[in-house]
């Protein structure tokens, strides 16, 4: 019983981190339909910025987080105008190649200025203190991430499903020509969505850095992890990604509790089974 409870609590805490680090990709890849392998690159840039601000300039965590996310957005806007706008029209393979090229350059830039070692982000000490929930001790950090994850998924759901921007975005992705002819400024919609994806990547990367620490090769090291969440969640579904991240978190944690010796094999076999049965994602029934 206590094991089951531990699996659920630890699994949700881990799953929420998975959700946070891959939510930006759910927006660019899931909603905008670009194979954006550079997603982790934006998380890396945000994390590197937060590292420099908190470590070298001693700026407190919260302002550093906000400044870093803003900085990534400021960088993403011209990048979208100059580079990504062309990438939207590419075939999937060309998108893979182009975004890999971009992520290589991002990695090389961070490596050039900050080296290839870990780039820790200083947080207030209280964040890493253990909190006793009565039945289980959980670091405060995980509780913050769980709350932030819930806030992000709610806000995104409302944004995509309930606002005019969401309608425009879905219309633009489904049929750009028709959307444009209806008077939707599709380039602007894409720009805004892309910036949102980059901002979320940076936000998630910084919040998740306690578990998946930032370093120059972050985007490649965890690429498989980001992609798994979006694939299992299903393209175009924020809620799907959320459910997928939590399920994967619980699944992986269960593997570590119950079958520690073959945890990794178990995890990937389970993913194989899920994708074989539900090739379009957890919540989408295969046609």
């Amino acid at each position: 019983m206590t094991v089951a409870l531990s699996i659920v609590v630890d699994g949700i805490a881990y799953g929420m981190i998975l959700f946070m680090i891959s939510i930006g990709l759910s927006v660019t890849m899931g909603l905008m339909r670009i194979v954006n392998l550079a997603h982790g690159g934006f998380a890396l840039l945000g994390g590197a910025c937060a590292h420099v601000l908190t470590n070298s300039y001693g700026i407190p965590f919260i302002p550093a987080l906000l400044v870093s996310v803003m900085a990534v957005v400021v960088l993403a806007l011209p990048l979208e105008r100059l580079v990504y706008r062309h990438i939207y029209r590419f075939s999937e393979l060309e998108q893979v190649l182009a975004t890999i090229g971009i992520v290589f350059i991002m990695i090389a830039s961070v490596n050039l200025f900050l080296g290839s070692t870990l780039l820790p982000i200083r947080m207030p000490p209280v964040v890493s203190s253990p909190v006793d929930l009565g039945f289980k001790v959980l670091p405060l950090h995980r509780i913050i991430v769980i709350l932030a994850g819930l806030a992000v998924v709610t806000a995104l759901y409302l944004l995509v499903e309930r606002t005019r921007f969401g309608i425009y975005l879905r219309a633009s992705v489904d049929n750009q020509a028709t959307a444009a002819s209806l008077g939707i400024d599709t380039p602007k919609v894409y720009l805004a969505a892309f910036a949102l994806g980059a901002a979320l990547a940076a936000f998630g990367g910084i919040l998740g850095a306690e578990l998946l620490p930032i370093e120059a090769y972050y985007p490649l090291r965890y690429m498989v992890l980001f992609l798994i969440v979006v694939a299992v969640g299903g393209m175009g579904s924020i809620i799907g990604s959320f459910v997928a991240a939590l399920s994967l978190g619980i699944l992986d944690t269960a593997g570590r509790y119950l079958l520690p010796d073959i945890g990794t094999i178990f995890f990937f076999l389970a993913i194989t089974a899920v994708l074989a049965l539900r090739p379009n994602g957890l919540l989408v029934k295969s046609s």
Binding site: D10, T117, L118, R122, E210, R221, D261
Partner: protein, 387 residues
């Protein structure tokens, strides 16, 4: 006629031999390491230490000029390592190979160095069995058994009764686990649980839960430096293990290259290692001062001292044997010198360095975190070689 030819031949050989010892030549040393990719830190540490040694001792050895040629293999990549060694031996005509961060990279060159009779000085790779693959391997770093057995003995004689081991599930981790368990049980301790954790994971909450409920008083951990160590030491604090009174003992987890990244929560972690950047000796102070002068943004770690002593060894071998590889290997056996880590010597049987293993605790020293040595186990050979 025949006799004339023979004497001419003998004469020319003698002349050639005379030339090779007396006339100054450039002796090249090929360094195979990782300079790019996520593990580029190895190559960087090696290169810096080599440059510091050369700055302190000059390029001239017994009238010869020593030149270092670097080859990047981009991580654990035996194919690239073998091709690099071939290129160094054939094109550059190197007389010594050096470097080697990952075990497969060292193993891949074993047939080549045996055939070419070229000594290869290992600056890091810590698997005992490497030196069995070729007579021409000499190692100036450490092996897992060499530092883990002292860790177990120290823990046993300092109050640890019940131990749980938590290692990454790959060869070095399993090596460390075997070494620790056998040494600890030998001293009468009990190992209550052996946990192997997936190599790729950074979420250790489930394992720390098991450690906590195992009833052990001490956890021995082995993880690769980098994200895994970062996340594990964080989790060790965050999950309340420290408060629960479960002590930590490790080996290379508090490597200086990632120590500052671990932050204040690393304070108090106890490890057994052969070198700390703040080892208290004149020689180490000079090493550190020169290094800080040449590379102000960098820091020394065990890889640095492995390379520094490796170059020292190569210089000594050139003095003793010039470019004759077989003679150089014979000269290496039993050689002893004073290293920045303390007194060291090369074990003639295993061609591995015999050295002190220090017990250290992480402390804050001004703006940096350091591994402060407070106990020592003297003259430890490679305890894993005969297994």
């Amino acid at each position: 006629m025949k006799r004339l030819c023979a004497s001419l031949l003998v004469g020319s050989i003698a002349l050639a031999a005379f030339c090779s010892t007396a006339v100054a030549e450039t002796i090249k040393v090929g360094v195979i390491a990782t300079f790019s990719g996520p593990n580029a830190i190895w190559g960087k540490q090696f290169q810096e230490a080599i440059q510091v040694y050369v700055a302190q001792h000059g390029k001239e050895v017994a009238g010869n000029t020593v030149e270092f040629v670097y080859k990047d293999v981009g991580g654990p990549n035996p194919d690239a390592s073998k091709a690099a060694a071939q290129e160094l031996l054939i094109r550059e005509g190197v007389k010594y190979l050096a470097g080697f961060d990952f075990t497969p990279n060292a193993l891949a060159v074993a047939p080549l160095i045996t055939q070419a009779k070229v000594p290869a000085v290992i600056f890091n790779s810590a698997t005992s069995a490497i030196n069995k693959q070729s007579e021409f391997f000499v190692r100036t770093s450490f092996t897992l058994w060499q530092v883990t057995v002292p860790a177990a003995h120290w823990a046993a004689s300092n109050g640890a009764k019940k131990i749980v081991t938590a290692v990454s599930d790959y060869n070095p981790g399993v090596d460390a686990e075997n070494a620790f368990v056998s040494a600890f049980e030998e001293k009468g301790g009990t190992v209550v649980e052996k946990i192997r954790m997936p190599l790729q994971t950074t979420d250790f909450a489930p394992f720390l839960q098991r450690i906590k409920s195992s009833g052990a008083d001490t956890v021995f951990a082995f993880l690769p430096a980098g994200p895994a160590t970062f996340a594990f030491t964080k989790a060790y604090n965050e999950n309340g293990l420290k408060q629960a009174g479960i002590n930590f003992i490790g080996t290379g987890e508090t490597d200086e290259s990632t120590l500052d990244a671990l932050g204040d929560q690393a304070i108090g972690l106890t490890t057994a290692q052969h070198y700390s950047a703040v080892h208290d000796s004149e020689l180490n102070k000079a090493f550190r001062a020169k290094h800080a002068e040449m590379f102000p943004k960098s820091t020394l770690n065990p890889a640095s001292v492995g390379a520094y002593d490796g170059v020292h060894l190569i210089y000594k071998l050139i003095e003793a044997a010039g470019t004759d590889g077989s003679e150089a290997i014979e000269a290496a056996k039993g050689l002893s010198w004073e290293s920045p880590r303390g007194p060291v010597s090369i074990d003639p049987a295993s061609r591995h360095v015999i050295q002190n293993v220090y017990i250290r605790r992480v402390e804050r020293d001004g703006s940096r975190l350091v591994n402060r040595e407070f106990d020592v186990i003297e003259s430890v050979p490679d305890l894993g070689f005969s297994r």
